[in-house]
Symmetry: C2
Subunit: 363 residues, 2 copies
């Protein structure tokens, strides 16, 4: 068994190989829920859904969110209605009282659905309705996610990080804003002065997540601040990561980010926006996967390969590098659900393992 911490698109891309390096039924994914919002009364979980839709074979892999080929009739009509009625477009936060009313799990991230500022597809919306209705029927987010995973025939085990609310709030010179306002509405424009995980002080990881963190862990090239940070903000997670083999893939090549607002978010939270900064942020990581062009020198084991993931073959290569690194830092290869008998078979000319401790069976 192996556990991936996932948020944004980095780790989902790593999981998207056609021929999985880790057998899918051996994989648990702990998904970030700090990005979630309640929009027009529906709990939308973008990071869970990217994994859900990709596992279900319906993800739009151009955008890495939403359902491929989905229509957007409702979303378009919401804009038409708002325009015709003279209602200002959003994001439209509900008022302060409403932020802590209603569904507990939606705290501090409740938006009106008028001129819906996130683009929800019509089939996509059915997922949010079903999830929210399961919550309203008394189920936890973990249970609701399992039900949706069943509906999409997911082979991996997909877990939300918590059944409690945690809202990622970005502090900027324009004031504080939920991550989705910062990212979707403002396209990461405002200067980041800090990031807060509201609710984290009382939120708990679920028992399922705690159990998953006892297995070897892969942190894909997700954003360390807003994709992995909310998971790490939960009590006991960092301690658990310190006790199990962990390999992390840098989302940078030295100080060049592969995608997204990761550099701004690293810098805005006092971190060096680079591979070195990621390594420092992940003090618990036992090994890293760096891009082959990344010359960052580290006092921990590193495996190098081309870490840009633009398709299944890339995903498989980086996953092989992760498996090699995990096996080199203490994970039992027999427990990882590898598709090969000997992890050394995962090695090849496209991966540089010279900085890893020796693998059993490998010279």
């Amino acid at each position: 068994m192996v556990t991936f911490l996932a948020g944004g698109t980095g780790t989902p891309k790593l999981l998207s190989g056609d021929e999985p390096v880790f057998a899918r039924d051996s994989v648990t994914v702990v998904g970030n829920t700090g990005d979630d919002v309640e929009l027009g009364g529906l709990l939308v979980c973008p990071d869970l859904d990217t994994v859900l839709f990709d596992g279900g074979g319906v993800l739009d892999r151009e955008t890495w969110w939403g359902i491929d080929g989905d229509s957007h009739e409702t979303n378009a009509e919401l804009f038409r209605l708002a325009d015709a009625a003279g209602l200002e477009e959003g994001p439209r936060y509900l008022d302060d009282d409403a932020q802590t009313a209603g569904r507990e799990i939606a705290r501090w991230r409740r938006f009106s659905g008028i001129a819906e500022f996130m683009t929800i597809g019509d089939r996509d919306r059915a997922v949010h309705i079903t999830r929210t209705s399961l919550l309203d029927e008394g189920h936890s987010l973990t249970e609701a996610t399992r039900t949706l995973a069943d509906a999409f025939d997911l082979e991996i085990d997909l877990l939300p990080m918590s059944d409690d609310p945690v809202a990622t709030i970005v502090h900027t010179p324009d004031g504080e804003m939920h991550f989705q306002e910062y990212w979707v509405a403002n396209r990461a424009g405002p200067r980041v002065e800090g990031v807060e995980f509201r609710g984290a002080e009382t939120a708990e990881p679920t028992p399922e997540v705690e159990a998953a963190l006892a297995d070897p862990v892969v942190i894909g090239p997700s954003n360390p601040v807003t994709s992995v940070g909310p998971i790490r903000s939960l009590a006991g997670v960092d301690a658990a990561l310190g006790e199990t083999p962990v390999v992390a893939v840098s989302p940078f090549c030295e100080d060049e980010a592969f995608s997204g607002p990761v550099a701004d978010l690293m810098a805005g939270t006092g971190r060096e926006p680079s591979t070195a900064g990621v390594a420092e942020t992940y003090g618990f990581a036992d090994a890293f996967v760096f891009d082959e062009a990344d010359g960052t020198d580290l006092d921990r084991p590193v495996v190098r390969t081309d870490t840009e993931i633009d398709g299944p073959a890339d995903a498989e290569r980086v996953a092989r590098a992760c498996a090699l690194a995990l096996a080199a830092v203490g994970a039992d290869p027999d427990d990882l659900g590898l598709a090969v008998d000997d992890p050394a078979e995962l090695d090849g000319d496209d991966i540089d393992t010279s900085e890893l401790p020796a693998l059993g069976g490998k010279p």
Copy 2:
């Protein structure tokens, strides 16, 4: 000014003439909200929406609900998800605690959205999202309805009967059920043992409705029990109807109902399922419009015409009959917003006014 009490399809059909007998900007429609439900977190107001969509020129006039040509991607996907996940189809009531939690106006009628048992179209859904979001932003249902009416360029003034919750509950041998479970899910199958307007004892008509009830009133061929009954259940409404000229169109021809479950609902609430029963139910009505084939003898003024409404010409004919009746029982023709100077011009061979008091200018 003239006020219509509307529910179901009877009164909306009466309003659907191409050349309105009553100028549209002189018409107020008080809509029944006893049929409303909260479904998957959205407040759905079927009776308001039929008037809203018809006034906006987008109503599906085959079904008399929903938007013409709407797609149903979300609704279809909700069924697919429920089926794939092994979730039983609805109606799925939220639990008793939830029925009185959440949005005040949604009390006693809150359903999960799983396998959404009412067929909500994709553009239709945007209306429910906008309405519900306006409520969540702190507006009343009256205000939200006005905003939607603006978005659809409505010329008439559309008012929900109340900003408070009233839920029409049908009592049957199978137990009590919300009207939408009785009508949509069970197709009016269960035997009606009684009808309750839950919440009516504390709900109030809005000031806008109270003002509208000071004008002459037309009750179209809507169901007296579940379409008009909830409006009448509000404090002061019957008294107001007793003080103003009222004309009602019978939804029966003698004991034959034109459509819907009106006969079962009349019988199940101790009323005679017939025009005579309607006349008895509407003790406050000053005059009636009966079908020309309806021989019911009444000690109040009656105008007769073909009351089956299958298109704009039918709607205009019945509306002319209503105007003639109103003018005959005390409404000031100059205040009705009539399209003609003299109400007698509305008369014709297709309307039998011989049982009406004499109209000014008519032999």
